[in-house]
């Protein structure tokens, strides 16, 4: 029973990891940019939510209404103002610049919020649970978060493959020059992609801040989870990313079940196994 519980909790955790990963995957897919600061943006979103909930006295879940648009705005401005200047044939400049951003965000947060761990309290929903057959109890909050994660992935999938915006993303990703000939301003399209990525990051950050305690230094760790979920699932496949997140979450929880010290190790081992057996991930996009 403990094992089944570990797996179920792992699946639910995997939804959060998929959220970490989805934004990462999106911008890599559209503009081949690896955002080293991705994890720090997740933490930034969590702190923004913390400030919002303190200032307005609202439930942290409601801060999504504020944090998502603010992060999207930051993403657009960041892309147009800085990151677009770094994109080119060389992949090193964007790596270095986002690495620098990571340092700046971490230290900025440290300066403002100190190194103390923080946690947001979502009230009674945090301790509510539903009973599943077989004597399992699953928290309502993790369930809601998982459902939202799946919905976000589905929404991204829809945007990417059904909407005009997604068509523009794919066209610019395929051939930047030719996409410009279609009247698409790639600087703007990239800005929108980063805005969408950070909007997803905002959801991930708020959930992270409710689920666990956080401090300014945990960003890079979240980035690793995101990377691992993306690569396990296969680059460019959002549903694959969700499954990658779930595999990572389940592995971590099974590891923790064997020995509490093995939680992270088990996740990394699962990642290495997938990388060794299927270097392109489990469900790579068919090109």
């Amino acid at each position: 029973m403990d094992w089944i519980n570990a797996i179920v909790q792992g699946v639910l955790l995997g939804g959060l990891y998929a959220l970490f990963a989805a934004g990462l995957s999106l911008i890599f897919g559209v503009m081949r940019l690896v955002n080293i600061a991705h994890g720090d943006f997740i933490v930034l979103a969590a702190f923004l939510a913390l400030s919002t909930t303190t200032a307005l006295g609202i439930n942290p879940l409601l801060t999504l209404v504020v944090v998502v648009p603010v992060m999207a705005g930051i993403g657009y401005v960041l892309q147009r103002g800085i990151l677009n200047q770094t994109l080119g044939d060389d992949i090193l400049p964007p790596l270095l610049v986002t690495f620098g951003l990571s340092v700046i965000i971490q230290n900025g947060l440290l300066e403002i919020y100190s190194a103390d761990p923080q946690k947001m309290n979502a009230g009674s929903i945090e301790i509510a649970s539903v009973a599943l057959p077989g004597g399992l109890n699953v928290g309502v909050l993790p369930l809601v978060m998982f459902a939202v994660s799946v919905a976000v992935i589905a929404g991204l999938q829809w945007i990417f493959y059904q909407s005009a915006l997604g068509r523009a993303f794919r066209a610019v990703s395929d051939k930047q020059d030719i996409a410009q000939l279609m009247g698409l301003n790639k600087a703007h399209v990239f800005g929108l992609a980063m805005a969408l990525s950070l909007a997803v990051v905002a959801v991930a950050g708020v959930f992270l801040g409710i689920r666990t305690s956080f401090d300014p230094s945990i960003g890079p760790g979240r980035l690793i989870f995101g990377f691992e979920a993306v690569i396990i699932g296969g680059l460019g496949n959002l549903w694959g990313t969700l499954i990658g997140g779930i595999i990572l979450g389940v592995s971590q929880n099974i590891g923790a079940q064997i020995n509490p010290g093995w939680q992270l190790l088990a996740g990394h081992i699962a990642f290495l196994i997938v990388l060794a057996v299927k270097p392109r991930g489990l469900f790579p996009r068919i090109d």
Binding site: A164, R167, A168, R170, A171, S173, D174, K175, D177, I178, A179, Q180, L181, M182, G183, L184, N185, K186, D287
Partner: protein, 234 residues
């Protein structure tokens, strides 16, 4: 004479330190079809890239409707009504046939061309609308590339080497369709290595050699000797 639809004036284009075009003067009137011929490396494609804004130049070097556009971005120039069928077709591989066409029309410029009309012109594309664009044969891909450019209802359409890499029978059918395509009051610049094909549809022709215009004249007034001298530089 009224102002031309598009003109280049003393256009110099560079790739880094390498100068690819030298003082190129080309102009096209509204409704006119011109051809630009020349050997490989003569600068034809560079000229197309300069006109469409993929290669930025001095602002005054290219004018569209008397407005300087030499330094404008490609998407801004596209919105003015300049479309290109690029060399090698350059379809978006992640998009279906229909999506490739729709994205060509995403600027919502008014005009006769829409999805329905493109499918009328190339019925085979309607049958294969849902497949990835790169799953088509070369000739069908060229139809998509042409349709994609038409979807923006351009005033000026550039055809860059549309016969390259296609079977002669396909080239023939595409050239037979061209008058219909251009017949809607559009202007067109046709870039070709195949001189006979170019002369058959264009009223005027420019010949390029080593980044310069080596000959200019009406298609029916130029002799073969003049053209081959300008083409090969002998």
């Amino acid at each position: 004479m009224s102002d031309p639809l598009l003109s280049t004036r003393a256009l110099d284009a560079h790739y880094g330190d390498f100068q690819a075009l030298f003082a190129v003067d080309v102009s096209i009137e509204a409704g006119e079809v011109i051809a630009i011929i020349g050997a490989n490396g003569a600068g034809k494609t560079t000229l197309m890239r300069s006109i469409t804004g993929l290669l930025p130049n001095g602002n005054d070097m290219v004018r569209f409707r008397s407005k300087p556009i030499g330094a404008s971005r490609a998407d801004q120039i596209a919105k003015l009504g300049v479309a290109m069928v690029p060399e090698g077709r350059q379809l978006f591989q992640s998009l279906s046939v229909e999506e490739n066409l729709v994205i060509g029309g995403q600027m919502n410029r008014k005009g006769p061309w829409d999805l329905h009309k493109v499918f009328q012109l190339f019925p085979v594309l309607k049958e294969r609308r849902a497949v990835p664009a790169t799953a088509l044969s070369g000739g069908q891909q060229q139809m998509v590339a042409i349709g994609r450019a038409l979807m923006s209802n351009p005033e000026l359409i550039l055809f860059d080497e549309i016969s390259l890499g296609l079977a002669p029978i396909i080239i023939k059918s595409i050239y037979e369709a061209l008058p219909d395509i251009i017949g809607e009051g559009m202007s067109a610049i046709i870039v070709e290595q195949d001189i006979a094909k170019a002369l058959s549809v264009a009223g005027r022709v420019y010949c390029m050699q080593e980044g310069r215009i080596s000959l200019e004249g009406r298609s029916n007034e130029l002799s073969r000797e003049q053209i081959s001298a300008a083409y090969f530089g002998v």
